[in-house]
């Protein structure tokens, strides 16, 4: 069975489990929406201020709250399950890839729900051609997925995992946040999103390579 | 050298380093005791 086929099976399995448990959709997405609500409540009543920070808040919420999608229970495997996969001959790198791909898809759904919410709540000024930000959103989802999956592997079976994994992901996702947040600004100044997008592609690829290469060593029986 | 920000910077640096050395020394003593 090829690497690609193994990764696809893992991807489908993860999405199926998520479909049954609904952790990402019914827990993490509402969590992100609540966060979006908290922000204006803490700020002075100033619609101009809100419309300025709106897009930025979308990216921050996506990163800080979306990362929990990568740590979801349905993605965590007990050491017994990992052992079973290993005995079935599943390449750990394929497992990593499949899981990251599933997380990326779920993160896209997260963004698809949070983005309109942000537009409604913050009323950002319309920028012609704002849809061009979409590639950046896809890359942000992919990048956060690989970083989060790697962090989840690093903190697997640790008791403090629920706080430690977010702590690890947050600073590592800054190289995604800065170019993504730049998106609308680039569109407005007619500079285009090519350079931010390429930068994000580089980040995603670099972390993905590390994740794939270290998947085998990180696979342990403990 | 009497500028307060300069004094603060140097003092904080030296004190922090000394404090870290002190913790190393304390740990060293503890390890010796545990023998």
């Amino acid at each position: 069975m090829t690497f690609r086929k193994q990764a696809m099976i893992i991807l489908r399995r993860d999405l199926r489990i998520e479909g049954r448990s609904g952790e990402a959709m019914f827990i993490t997405v509402p969590f992100g929406l609540v966060a979006l609500f908290l922000i204006p409540l803490a700020l002075p009543l100033n619609t101009e201020l809100l419309s300025t920070i709106g897009p930025g808040m979308f990216w921050v919420v996506t990163l800080l709250f979306g990362m929990f999608i990568t740590f979801r229970q349905s993605a965590a495997e007990s050491s017994a399950q990992k052992e079973q996969l290993r005995m079935l001959g599943v390449d750990p790198a394929a497992r990593f890839t499949g899981r990251a791909a599933a997380s990326a898809m779920l993160l896209l759904v997260f963004e698809l729900i949070v983005a309109p919410a942000m537009i409604v709540l913050f009323a950002p000024a319309a920028v012609p051609g704002w849809l061009a930000v979409t590639p950046l959103a896809i890359l942000a989802a992919a990048g956060l997925a690989v970083i989060g999956t790697l962090a989840a592997d690093l903190t697997a079976s640790l008791r403090t995992r629920s706080a430690l994994a977010p702590l690890l992901v947050a600073p590592l996702s800054v190289p995604l946040l800065v170019p993504a947040a730049q998106g609308l600004e680039s569109i407005r100044t007619k500079n285009g999103i090519l350079i931010p997008a390429l930068f994000m592609v580089a980040v995603v690829l670099a972390v993905a390579v590390i994740g794939v290469v270290t998947a085998q060593p990180l696979e342990e029986t403990t | 050298m009497t500028d307060p920000s300069v004094l603060a910077s140097f003092l904080i640096t030296y004190v922090a380093v000394a404090a870290y050395v002190a913790t190393l020394f304390w740990r060293h003593r503890k390890q010796r005791e545990d023998l």
Binding site: I147, L150, L154, T155, L158, R159, T160, R161, L164, L167, L168, A170, P171, L172, V174, P175, V178, P179, Q182, E185, I195, P196, F199, A202, V203, A206, V207, I210, T214, P217, L218, E220, T222 | M1, T2, D3, S5, V6, A8, S9, F10, I12, T13, Y14, A16, V17, Y20, V21, L24, R27, H28, Q31, D34
Partner: protein, 237 residues
């Protein structure tokens, strides 16, 4: 005498000498007296990044050779690195406030990447503290160290490309256009702090080696405690 004590002794002498140079160097025409701060700020910042890089290097070396000493050096470098990163940030903020009136410049790529590195360090140390098994700990921290070493320069570049466009990069002297005494002061302190780093690194790494050896001896396996089982309570009883 163990090399670490010799290094620390040398470092102390170097830092005293460096302090004398820092007092002697002239104040800057633009910045005034606060220019002296570079005598501690530049060395601590340089060491912060050096220690971070060495953490990654030692970690990768461990992944290749599996020699425990390399893991201890990586962890020790991270600890010492956190200290220097914190100092670099604090002295940088004091300097910024004294010279330009702002403690934190959001357009400065160096500040942003130093701060992010600080958090990656903290995460690294937290991960180590949370992982009881030594081999697992070494392996996981090595991977985190490598990812961190990749991401921090990327933070620097991303902030540099997109957030310093409209701001004049605050003039922090890092060129040969400095007066000689300032340059000497900076270099003497740089050398002294580097020797300090080496001394602290070796000492801490050795302590970690002893700690790990001790823990390995205590045989933390479940035995008698496993016999204690909570009572099974029936509902309504």
């Amino acid at each position: 005498m163990k090399p670490r004590y010799a290094l620390l002794g040398l470092a102390t002498i170097g830092m005293v000498y460096g302090f004398s140079w820092a007092s002697r160097m002239p104040g800057d025409a633009v910045q005034g007296e606060s220019a002296r701060i570079i005598s501690v700020h530049v060395p601590t910042a340089w060491l912060a990044f050096l220690a971070f890089g060495m953490t990654a290097v030692f970690g990768i070396a461990w992944l290749v050779t599996k020699r425990a000493k390399l893991d201890h050096l990586a962890a020790a470098s991270a600890e010492v690195g956190v200290l220097f990163t914190g100092l670099a940030l604090v002295t940088g903020m004091i300097w910024g406030k004294a010279t330009w009136g702002i403690a934190w410049d959001w357009g400065d790529a160096r500040l942003a990447s130093t701060a992010m590195m600080f958090f990656v360090y903290l995460g690294y140390l937290a991960l180590r503290r949370a992982t009881p098994d030594p081999v697992q700990r070494a392996r996981r921290s090595a991977v985190l160290g490598a990812v961190g070493a990749l991401q921090v320069p990327l933070v620097y570049f991303s902030v540099n490309i997109w957030r310093t466009l409209h701001q004049t990069q605050s003039v922090r002297p890092d060129g040969a256009s400095l007066p000689t005494e300032t340059l000497i002061s900076m270099l003497v302190n740089l050398a002294a702090f580097t020797v300090l780093y080496l001394g602290l690194l070796l000492w801490r790494a050795d302590q970690l080696r002893v700690e790990e050896a001790r823990l390995a001896q205590t045989h933390l396996t479940p035995n008698a405690g496993a016999a204690v089982v909570p009572p099974k309570l029936q509902p309504g009883s």
